[in-house]
Amino acid sequence: MNEVPTKIIVGYADRLSVAPGEMISFMVNVDGEARYRADIVKLISGDWHPRGAGFKEELIATTVNGDYPGRRQDIHPGSFAIVADDPRLAVDSFSLQAMIWPTTPLKGRQTILAKWSVAKNCGFVLTIDEGGALALTIGDGVRTAEVSTGRTLREREWYFVGASFDALPRRATLFQEPLARCLPQDPGVTIGRIVEVSGPARNDAPVTIAGLLSKSPQGREIGVALFNGKIDSPRIAARALSRTEMEQAIRSRPPGDVAPSIVAAWDFSLDFPSQQIPDVSPNRLHGRLVNMPARAMKGYNWSGDEHDWKHAPSQYGAIHFHDDDLYDAGWEADFTLTIPEDTPSAIYAARLEAGADIDYVPFVVRPARQLPTADVLLLLPTASYMAYANEHAAFDSSETEVLSGHLVAYKPEDLFLNEHREYGYSLYDTHSDGSGVCHSSRLRPILNMRPGYTNPWIGIGGSAPWQLNADLHIVDWLEAIGQKFDVVTDEDLHSEGLGLLRQYRVVITGTHPEYYSTAMLDAMRGYLDQGGRLMYLGGNGFYWRIAYHPTLPGVIELRRAEDGIRDWVAEPGEYGGLWRRLGRPPQALVGVGMAVQGFDICGHFRRSEASHNPRAAFIFDGVDEDIIGDFGVVGGGAAGLELDRFDPSLGSPAHALVLASSETLTGLYFPPPEEVNNVLPNLAAPQNPKARGDMVFFETAAGGAVFSVGSIAWAGSLSHARYINNVSRITGNVLRRFRDPRPFVVKDAETQT
């Protein structure tokens, strides 16, 4: 029996990009080994393909290289809210209420609103019990009393729920009412009875929403009894309110006999970008969120009239909590490296070895600010790395093999991520309750952002690199031709904008720069408008709009709204999702845009008549053949996986030259939804002339130029035949001319728009 591989060492860094003189810390989890070895290496190639460039790394002598004690560090996912304890929360009689939209009512005990000490087992908590019904639990420190409605809540229905306790008669009352009154099978239920405890014991626990607070031995905050679903308008009052009074308490200005009793009234429709939840009662018992639940979600009072939360925030006052949300793994640092001042800009990694296992934690050393060390910049698409971070499609969807056209093939990283769901998800995955994952953080091990890693469902036998490891094909090629270059990340571009790019004559993208923030797109647009030269060496770029969090480091948000390839679909609340739908299609930026995808084998490009235009002579210098890239380690060809097409109707410059187009894509290559306005029977590539990739070149008015290959697979052909091949030749020809300061000129009327 063959041993199934597993991982025993994984790590992450607190930064993805670091400049000389700055510090970067590494956090490591080791399971079952007393010690591990750490070394800093420069990454050049992660290609294990038998005909590929090989795995190439260079050991870098640093002060942190050495042996370290191994220790286990765990991840505690799940979002919830914490409101610090306050004397005004010490109540004998009380009311708890909220609007809730449970998504997994039968998953086990789930907290809605609590002031409960896990350590002392006392206080009060409004929960969903094991039977999926609303329940109130009161603990006096010795005994615990619980009252349940006994009626299972339905999934994805809004309920008004509340519970009160009147200490003098020891009477507990609770109700759950579906807001959709048209459902005759559930008219709502109210239960009341005298309980055996005299009231909640005083405790110093905070108020918590959507979970109870436990703590690790190291003092880390851990959510337990976590809730899945939306919560809106939670309230606590210091006396037993009636059901009518609780309804009044939802209002922003409750009547005079109710208002004084309200201890806290949290309004989730305020301060959306923050992780704070404001209490709008006079007490101002503000809280904070843990593990970034989804904010600005449709509330209980959503009318359907407004589809942008910014226009009607009060209707988007729900927070969707998930028991597997994760922002920051929060591990303790094992070692911290100060980047030596003379460190060349490149992609590096902390190589971690324990027993027979090895992990790489990649990071970029960028040049010092305003001090470029080359005229060529490799812009590493780290927003896209984060979008795909720890993607689970090969495990979680039965349709993946149908899509890709071959068996999925798991590697140790994939097996580990399946068993360790706490490591969190990609923007392609769904939470445990089936809702889409809209946040992705890099403050956790990202096991598919590793040199040597290939995707389990892309390419036969899970053979294709994706994102970082695919981009190493470009790094390897630049090294092989002796081209000096700087490296920065999307995060650098997002925070520094055009000023970062304009220091370079040539910018080279990664193979799949799919996710762009507004600031990133503005910077790239500005770079081209000012005469920059862009080599877009990938496919399906500049496609989805994402947002970096304005204050918290290392996390992005995506609303997977209309169109695009979507493994889940966002609820209303923000228009768009695709830059194309938002009126800034990639075709208008780089001449081509997403047109077709397939994941079995790749095709090649065939040169067009236009490729013989004198304007393109420098591109094809030394290339006599018409077939380009009918070789390569990614699917066997340079035209594949995801391909972009020239389309003047979407803004492709009319004077652009379509140099070559893809051929021989298989019947598993299909266009994305935004290319399918009406469903025709000839969707797949062999019958659909629009399902193709185009390679384009155009000059810009400011003397710059753009060269777009429009194919993710392109870079996988660069190293073929020891880098002597027409893909390498064309890419090198373009790079050489793009580095030449002579301006590009759009010459004559024939080539004008």
Binding site: W48, A394, L407, V408, Y410, E419, R421, I460, T666, G667
Partner: protein, 94 residues
């Protein structure tokens, strides 16, 4: 009735350009539910795989099927095709 030529076509070329009829057959064969679905576990990148079946449950590992080790990825595809064919038709393929 399934045209035996489709079987021959697949065995000649398990992944790549397929006739529409073979593609339709593969769409059925590959669309198994997750629980028990055939998957591979890669032991050596690009070189060695074993056969396993999906657990069907998030977080639970796939279960290896003893006796299947592949050093040729196309042979892995052919083997799974034969296994699925037998389940679909009750017949063994040569």
């Amino acid at each position: 009735m399934i045209d035996p030529e489709l079987v021959a076509e697949f065995l000649r070329c398990p992944v790549g350009h397929h006739s529409p009829n073979l593609q339709a057959l593969l769409n059925v064969l590959r669309n198994e539910p997750l629980a028990g679905k055939y998957v591979l576990i890669c032991l050596k990148p690009h070189r060695e795989w074993i056969l396993a079946r999906h657990s069907g449950v998030r977080g639970r590992p796939p279960v290896p099927v003893p006796g299947y080790v592949f050093t040729d990825i196309e042979e892995a595809e052919r083997t799974v095709f034969r296994l699925r064919w037998k389940r679909l038709t009750g017949e063994e393929l040569d």
